[in-house]
């Protein structure tokens, strides 16, 4: 038990560094094009989640349907202020392919941050620290692409998604809410 306690902070910190490292790598690869940088970022997140896949949480969790509804509702609430902006006018016919990519990347971010990273930090320092750590990492990984101005709202969204993870005990609603919020960019950004 003592060994587990001592080992956990190192592991939580290591996952945190790995996720941030993936974002740094993505930034460094941006000159090589969106294909290379996004694919590398996605592969890194997948590898992190994969490495931690065996660590299933014993915490009670909501049923799949209820969790899905919570994710959809959270995503809809995140879109409320955005929906006040004028519509972008992008063609719906081109939406689906872009939406598939955005959904996969959003889901990979959630499995890495609200999945692996949240789990490790919860084991070490409790859910409150895990939620805050996830929110900070979430804001930091978006910093290179969207600048400092996007950090406060991204940290707030990260806080909400971390809260959703703790409330439902699942990553699924976080991935759904994140994806719904991303999809809004097509119509309003």
């Amino acid at each position: 038990m003592i060994q587990v306690r001592l080992a956990a902070p190192r592991r939580a910190a290591r996952i945190t560094v790995l996720v941030l490292g993936a974002a740094v790598l993505r930034t460094l690869l941006l000159p090589a094009g969106d294909l290379v940088s996004t694919a590398t970022f996605g592969a890194c997140l997948l590898a992190i989640s994969w490495r931690e896949r065996g660590r299933s949480s014993s915490e009670p969790h909501w049923g799949r349907g209820r969790a899905l509804a919570a994710g959809l509702a959270t995503g809809a609430v995140l879109l409320v202020p955005v929906a006040a902006m004028p519509l972008s006018g992008r063609a719906i016919s081109a939406f689906w392919e872009w939406a598939a990519i955005a959904a996969v990347i959003a889901t990979l971010e959630e499995t890495a941050i609200r999945g692996a990273l949240y789990q490790r930090w919860t084991e070490e320092a409790g859910p409150a620290v895990a939620i805050v750590a996830g929110a900070v990492v979430f804001a930091l990984i978006h910093l290179p692409r969207y600048g400092f101005g996007a950090m406060p709202p991204d940290a707030a969204v990260g806080l909400a998604l971390g809260g959703l993870r703790a409330l439902t005990g699942r990553v699924l609603p976080c991935a759904v809410a994140h994806t719904v919020a991303d999809w809004g960019a097509w119509f309003w950004a």
């Binding site: 094009g33 996004t38 592969a43 009670p60 995140l78 902006m85 709202p153 991204d154 950004a189």
Partner: protein
């Protein structure tokens, strides 16, 4: 309610409230993945095949203060981001007595014809700055920066018409396939993206490269997504407890 869930509920509520409060018009949703494609070009006079669904281009306007005859710096742009001006303090000189300067960017409904051998690609924009009150002429002390979006198809350079005919300007095209180009603008007047008449649009290699980039990412996420799902299903199957057999 369990402590973890209570913490979660509080964080969720705080996060949603903070996200709504911190949201501004300039903020955007998260949109991970590849860059969102720009919305379709807004034509003043759309080609016949683009008439349906075309939205009219928007104009831009800004009023800037004047101090000691010098106009403050600024960056007016059209509402649809198709034209963006940028100038520093002192780039423009206001007429005597002006307290402010109004700069406008407007799409031209009836632009002057392009020179022979040149096609105007997209809209012609008229850029002007006048002193207020009185609408006196503003003079240019240093060239300002102008960025224009051009529609899909051929593009070579931005041309300027200050009243004595069109002339080409040294043009810097944005990288990464972005449909924008920039010039150091020498004066107020009309600006247009142009290309030689009959110039081909993007080459097949360029178009294929663009598709390869997009569908390459799509293929990547599908392949890795399927692998991840299969592995997860296999892991869950292995984890399922075996039911004890009844002794007979």
């Amino acid at each position: 309610m369990m402590p973890t869930r209570r913490v979660g509920l509080v964080a969720l509520a705080l996060g949603l409230m903070a996200a709504a409060l911190l949201h501004t018009r300039s903020a955007r949703p998260l949109y991970d993945g590849i860059v969102v494609p720009p919305e379709p070009y807004r034509w003043e006079s759309p080609p016949p095949n683009l008439k349906a669904g075309n939205k009219p281009p928007l104009s831009g306007e800004v009023i800037l203060p004047v101090q000691n005859g010098q106009v403050a710096g600024g960056g007016p742009q059209t509402g649809d981001n198709q034209v963006i001006m940028f100038f520093g303090p002192g780039f423009f000189k206001a007429p005597a007595g002006a307290q402010a300067v109004k700069c406008t960017i407007e799409p031209e409904a009836n632009p002057p014809a392009a020179p022979s051998g040149i096609d105007i690609r997209g809209n012609v924009y008229r850029i002007n700055c006048v002193g207020q009150p009185g609408d006196g002429p503003v003079t240019i002390a240093a060239m300002y920066h102008l960025t224009m979006r051009f529609p899909p198809g051929a593009f070579k350079e931005i041309q300027y018409n200050g009243g004595s005919g069109w002339r080409a300007l040294p043009t810097l095209r944005s990288g990464g396939g972005d449909p924008y180009a920039s010039v150091n603008a020498p004066g107020f007047g009309e600006y247009a993206a142009t290309a030689p008449t009959g110039a081909p649009g993007d080459s097949i290699v360029t178009i294929l490269g663009r598709y390869l980039e997009f569908y390459g990412i799509l293929a990547f996420v599908i392949i890795f997504g399927v692998i991840a799902i299969i592995q997860e299903i296999r892991r869950r199957r292995h984890q399922q407890p075996t039911t004890p057999r009844k002794k007979t």
